[in-house]
């Protein structure tokens, strides 16, 4: 019932309907971005598309909110 996405080359399982952010969080990946000035780690915070902390690049696209983007089989995610 699950499919996989890759995060920096590593395979992460996804239950259909889950967001990228939820799948990462569930896999124990809690931060995937560093802030511009202080290089502080960031992952999910508000979880509903308000705070933009969870920005992530999916399939080479410009950064999107991981908590809003539903994962699709084969998605490739890169963290920074």
């Amino acid at each position: 019932m699950t499919f996989a996405i890759t995060v920096d080359g590593r395979s992460v399982p996804v239950v259909p309907g889950q967001t990228i952010g939820a799948a990462l969080h569930a896999a124990g990946i809690r931060s995937w971005r560093a802030t511009r000035f202080g290089a502080r780690p960031r992952g999910l915070f508000c979880g509903i598309g308000v705070c933009f902390d969870c920005l992530i690049s999916v399939n080479g696209r410009a950064p999107e909110r991981a908590c809003l983007v539903e994962a699709a089989p084969g998605d490739e995610v890169t963290t920074s």
């Binding site: 239950v15 931060s31 802030t35 705070c51």
Partner: protein, 470 residues
């Protein structure tokens, strides 16, 4: 001229809906369905993949939850009768010269969509109101709503060892939900109250069943519920490893502290109604019981701007039952307006008289009482240190805000201009309340002419007339 004639005159250049609803939670779905059942041509635009808003957020295969079955039936009925645009982020609503409203949204593919309607229902809900504290930007610190969204929308338990903190009745379902899903909830730290769960305001307000349910659930999972306590600091290198829990005085000053080891924190200090679209259109606002700016509405859920209605949290935080009732009232008022566009307040109010209006007023009073029972006290400002980030986007620490104030920034706006809190991605949604408090003023209605990021390409494409989504 009736609306029907207007619609037909427009048929050639794309659809003009009788009603466009923004927001697919209980208020939006109730309003849209009420209008659609009466034969109105309705479009509903929502940012999520599935209707439900925050309260009825659900996984692709829905789990059981109170009220959810009924909501899902409504959502299905709506999908049969109206245009539902999911995963569309609305960034602006504008008025056309002929009075129609254009709802500008990003499509899931990132393109520009403009949905045209004669009337608008703003049902955009609310989001968690966090307070800053040292370490609050460590991964593993989530808003209470964020932890809830992970669970309800994704089936993901936010962590193994979880601390829940903040103020307000919402902490209870979050804690019991996490505990029931297998998390070890180390404690619910309610900054307010002082009376304990047995004297919880839900009881005083006649919600004995609900309060007792939470109490039983917390007891079954051995979750301590402590009032006048809060997480005042999070510790950790790359993510949260422990928190400082403080016993608080009446104004939330720290009396004593201890360390609790945990991997996850869920915090929430009430909610911020999402009123950006109403402010864009010039709707009058007022301050709610808790000081939040909300949209002014009349008995028929009309805002002060013609053809614009609002329902649910944007008119004052009061929970899903109130939201649904307000949505239904708005729907009825919109139906009445379409039948007799020239009719005055009396006709519209007459449509909503009786049982619905009475229920709304009761739930509204209940919402106000809860807000009153859980005020945010100013002592939280003492939890901050000079280097505590207040604005997470632009990484503005408290010290820079104090510097700006010393330089002559006497209000929240000039603090923003000088020190940049609120200038980043979230446009002050997260730090706005805190900055207003630090400036010593009530939170002002947000000015966000672009309510969601939109690509320059899509924005420039709105220059040319667009068809609706279909």
């Amino acid at each position: 001229m009736t609306d029907v004639v207007t619609d037909e005159a427009r048929a050639g250049e794309g659809v003009t809906y009788d009603l466009v609803v923004v927001g697919g939670g209980p208020a939006g779905v109730a309003g849209a369905l009420t209008a659609a059942l009466a034969g109105l041509r309705v479009a509903l635009v929502d940012s999520s993949a599935r209707l439900g808003g925050q309260y009825f957020r659900h996984t692709a295969v829905p789990a059981r939850a109170p009220g959810l079955d009924r909501f899902l039936r409504q959502a299905r009925a709506l999908s049969d009768r109206a245009e539902v645009l999911s995963r569309h982020q609305v960034w602006s609503v504008t008025r056309e010269p002929d009075g129609d409203l254009l709802v500008h949204a990003n499509s899931p593919e990132g393109g520009a969509v403009a949905v045209r309607g004669r009337r608008l229902l703003i049902a955009t809900g609310a989001y968690d109101r966090p307070l800053p504290f040292p370490g609050w930007d460590l991964p593993g610190v989530l808003t209470a709503g964020g932890a809830q969204a992970l669970l309800k929308g994704n089936g993901v338990v936010a962590g193994r060892r979880v601390v829940v903190s903040g103020t307000g009745p919402f902490l209870l379902p979050v804690a019991t939900g996490l505990a029931a899903a297998g998390a070890k909830v180390l404690g619910v730290y309610e900054a307010g109250g002082g009376l304990g769960l047995a004297r919880h305001p839900l009881l005083a307000l006649g919600k004995a069943g609900e309060a007792a349910g939470y109490a039983v659930s917390l007891a079954r999972h051995r979750v301590p519920y402590l009032t006048r306590h809060a997480v005042v600091e999070a510790h950790g290198e790359r993510e949260v490893e422990a928190v400082t829990v403080a016993r608080l005085g009446r104004r939330w000053n720290v009396l004593a502290t201890r360390i609790v080891e945990c991997d996850t924190v869920a915090v929430g200090y009430g909610f911020v109604p999402q009123i950006d679209l109403g402010v864009q259109l010039g709707c009058a606002t007022r301050h709610d019981v808790d000081g939040s700016p909300i949209l002014e509405t009349d008995a028929a859920q009309r805002t002060t701007v013609p053809m614009v209605w609002a329902a649910g949290e944007p008119t004052g935080v009061g929970g899903w039952r109130l939201a649904e009732i307000e949505g239904r009232i708005a729907g009825r008022s919109i139906i009445a307006h379409r039948r007799a566009p020239g009719a005055g307040v009396e006709v519209a109010a007459g449509e909503v008289a009786g049982v619905l209006a009475r229920r709304r007023d009761r739930w509204r009073a209940f919402g106000a009482a809860l807000q009153q029972a859980y005020p945010v006290e100013p002592g939280w400002q003492g939890w901050l240190r000079d280097d505590t980030l207040v604005c997470r986007c632009e990484e503005v620490p408290l010290a820079r805000i104090r510097e700006a104030q010393e330089l002559g920034a006497t209000d929240a706006r000039s603090i923003k201009l000088l020190a940049r809190p609120g200038m980043g991605w979230c446009q002050g949604r997260i730090c706005g309340y805190a900055v207003a408090c630090l400036a010593g003023e009530p939170q002002q209605p947000p000015r966000r002419p672009i309510a969601q990021p939109v690509t320059l390409g899509a924005l420039s494409d709105t220059d040319t007339p667009h068809d609706s989504a279909h």
